[in-house]
């Protein structure tokens, strides 16, 4: 069940202020992910403080890196249900989890950071995983 929007907005802002474009409808997702060849990151945002409380600061750190995806998007799991489901349809075999981060290139997932790789880890550690993926597939 979605949370009240006033609770969620700061979590949206924490991501969009980084320059990440939030996708809130199926049409927006398809327009963004439907035909991609460049490196593209999709951050699956989440309310869950157990993991998302580390994921968003990690994203902030990682997006300060010198090599970055050409395009960066986010969807909000549990809030924008249709948009999130549509975004996940582009993730192939990778199962839904939130928060999580997918890195796509040439229409395929080339790296994925699942929720279970975020839980209980520091933002520094999570950011290191993202930066490693950026170095491998971006720029």
């Amino acid at each position: 069940m979605p949370y009240p929007e006033m609770m969620i907005q700061p979590m949206r802002d924490e991501v969009t202020r980084l320059g990440v474009q939030e996708l809130r409808t199926v049409a927006e997702v398809d327009a963004a992910l439907g035909d991609i060849s460049e490196s593209t990151m999709v951050f699956v945002n989440s309310v869950c403080g157990c993991a998302a409380g580390g994921a968003r600061p990690a994203l902030t750190m990682a997006l300060g890196h010198s090599r970055l995806p050409a395009r960066t998007y986010s969807v909000f799991a549990g809030q924008d249900l249709d948009a999130t489901a549509r975004a996940r349809s582009y993730f192939g075999e990778y199962q839904p989890s939130s928060p999580s981060v997918a890195l796509l290139k040439g229409g395929e997932v080339v790296a994925f950071v699942h929720r279970h790789q975020i839980e209980g880890r520091s933002p520094d550690q999570i950011a290191a995983d993202l930066v490693s993926a950026f170095d491998s597939y971006c720029g």
Binding site: E14, V47, C50, R56, P57, Q95, S97, H116, Q117, G120
Partner: protein
């Protein structure tokens, strides 16, 4: 909102994806909610049953670590008497 936690008061494993080995031979992987006198409550649970799967458990776990949790059960309670071991999926 960095680091904000919506569900304080839970134990250290709350929200963490764990592997639970049960005495009946099954292995369950899911998000730990809590442990009470009834047992362990997991959410979004994948289940490996060696009697029903041709895939060895360790191979199944490798796939889960790479591709994530393919949910078989929305919730599962493993009675305390059936717990053999608990560890984090990432360990």
């Amino acid at each position: 909102m960095s680091g904000h936690v919506f569900h304080p008061g839970h134990d250290a494993l709350h929200g963490v994806t764990v592997v639970v080995d049960a005495t009946d031979g099954r292995t369950l992987v899911g998000r730990w909610h809590e442990q009470t006198h009834r047992g362990v409550l997991l959410h979004d649970v994948a289940v490996h049953d060696p009697a029903a799967s041709a895939t060895p458990k360790e191979e199944w776990l490798v796939k889960l670590r790479k591709f994530g949790i393919a949910v078989d059960l929305k919730h599962a309670i493993i009675p305390a008497s059936q717990l053999l071991g608990i560890r984090r999926l990432v360990e």
